[in-house]
């Protein structure tokens, strides 16, 4: 463990960004990932431990035009309790419902799950299905500046993102899905609660008759980051969801990831799961 020389709990975004600019800062929100990572030595604390939990600009879930802004400090429980999320972004609520345990859901934040950038991060898959973007703030020259980028570009590897050290992830922005949009999330673990995903799958698209359009297929835990499954999407795009198309999509899905073998599953098993569960989800979307 590195030695923390200073602790700060800023009360505004501007104050937090000033502290970040000074350098060597470890950011803490819920702590649910940071605490075990610091114990295992995976994370070394910076000289300043900055608790962002009291920064009001980072909270809240709000509809802004045709975008849902989910503040970085939104807890997984907040997502589950939000009518806006349940009604307009049900795949996000579905993933939140499969997230760890109640104790962890009460502490863990959306911003933390995104910045932790685990290949198996539960919220990442549904958010990428929905084309979510991240909002980043910095204060390089005395004024707060923000930028935005697609979540799938923001994630660059296990624990790695495009966030610069002086930047703070302030929110995730999710465009409201169009009418007719359907989506499903599936997570595989050996028990319902608290398991890190062996694999996870999110599939979304606009259903017109028996066809899916603007198809988004996302797999978690089969590559260094959650991935868009482009070959699988091409098989599905605009074609009737019949048995032959579903079979072809499942075959494409099998070859899409480059999973590793670890304590949770072998690479072979992960690929089999992806094939079979893709088939199952598509059957639900087609007939359910």
């Amino acid at each position: 463990m590195g030695a923390v020389e200073r602790y700060a709990a800023p009360l505004s975004l501007a104050e937090a960004l000033d502290l970040l600019r000074a350098g060597d800062v470890t950011i803490v929100a819920g702590g649910t990932d940071l605490m075990p990572q610091s114990h295992s030595g995976k994370v070394r604390f910076g000289s300043l431990l900055m608790n962002i939990r009291r920064v009001p600009e980072l909270g809240g879930i709000a509809l802004e035009g045709d975008t849902v802004r989910i503040g970085a400090l939104t807890s997984i429980t907040d997502l589950l309790e939000s009518r806006l999320v349940r009604e307009r972004l049900p795949i996000v609520a579905e993933a939140a419902d499969h997230f760890a345990s109640e104790q962890v859901r009460n502490g863990a934040t959306v911003g933390g799950n995104v910045c932790n950038a685990s290949p198996a991060g539960d919220m990442l898959v549904p958010l990428i299905v929905l084309d979510a973007a991240v909002e980043l703030a910095a204060k390089p020259n005395g004024a707060v500046e923000t930028r935005s980028m697609p979540l799938r570009e923001f994630l660059t590897g296990p624990g790695r993102t495009q966030r610069a050290p002086h930047e703070l992830l302030t929110a995730v922005r999710v465009p409201l899905p169009p009418p007719g949009f359907v989506a499903r999330f599936y997570k595989h673990g050996t028990r319902p609660a608290l398991d890190i995903s062996t694999i996870s799958i999110g599939i979304g698209g606009v259903k017109r008759g028996d066809k899916l359009e603007n198809v988004h297929v996302v797999f978690g835990a089969v590559a260094p980051t959650p991935i868009r499954a482009r070959a699988t999407e091409r098989v599905l795009e605009g074609r009737p969801l019949d048995a032959a198309v579903i079979e072809a999509a499942a075959e494409a899905a099998h070859d899409e990831g480059r999973p590793i073998s670890d304590v949770r599953a072998s690479a072979w098993y992960r690929q089999e799961l992806v094939r079979n569960m893709t088939k199952r989800i598509l059957a639900h979307v087609a007939f359910g």
């Binding site: 463990m1 030695a3 923390v4 020389e5 200073r6 602790y7 709990a9 803490v28 819920g30 702590g31 649910t32 605490m35 075990p36 610091s38 114990h39 604390f45 431990l49 608790n51 939990r53 429980t77 760890a100 345990s101 109640e102 104790q103 962890v104 009460n106 502490g107 319902p192 609660a193 608290l194």
Partner: protein
Amino acid sequence: MSHSVEIEFRLNGVVRRAAVPAAMSALVMLRDVLGLTGTKYGCGEGECGACTILVDGASVNSCLMFAVDCDGREVTTIEGLAADALAERLRRAFAEHGAVQCGFCTPGMVIQASRILAQHPHPDRATIQRGLEGNLCRCTGYKKIIDAVAAAAEQS
């Protein structure tokens, strides 16, 4: 050694001040700094729920929470729950239904059960099971624990 931070918060209804290292967990603060050993250290990584406490009414794993983050908040541990009528029902129900074997998971189970019953005064069995997902009992006495929570709910 880690930098020490002065914090002030309500612990079981009483205002407490403490000086804690910035990287210390709330669990270590409760047990080693404040001497409240009812909250247990099980796994240290949020898997077992033995360290469950209430912070502003929501249950959290105190082993995953930074002690400094208690500043300005309302913290309830198993010791503080004892004064509560709901907790008294839970205590009796756990005793009557044999829901305690070695007892190590019990403080976390009772805190989490109180959270379940605060949110769902008349939960069905599935709701109780779902609510206790984050609490492990290695004596595997789950059936009796669930029976006890259900019984405590019925009396409300």
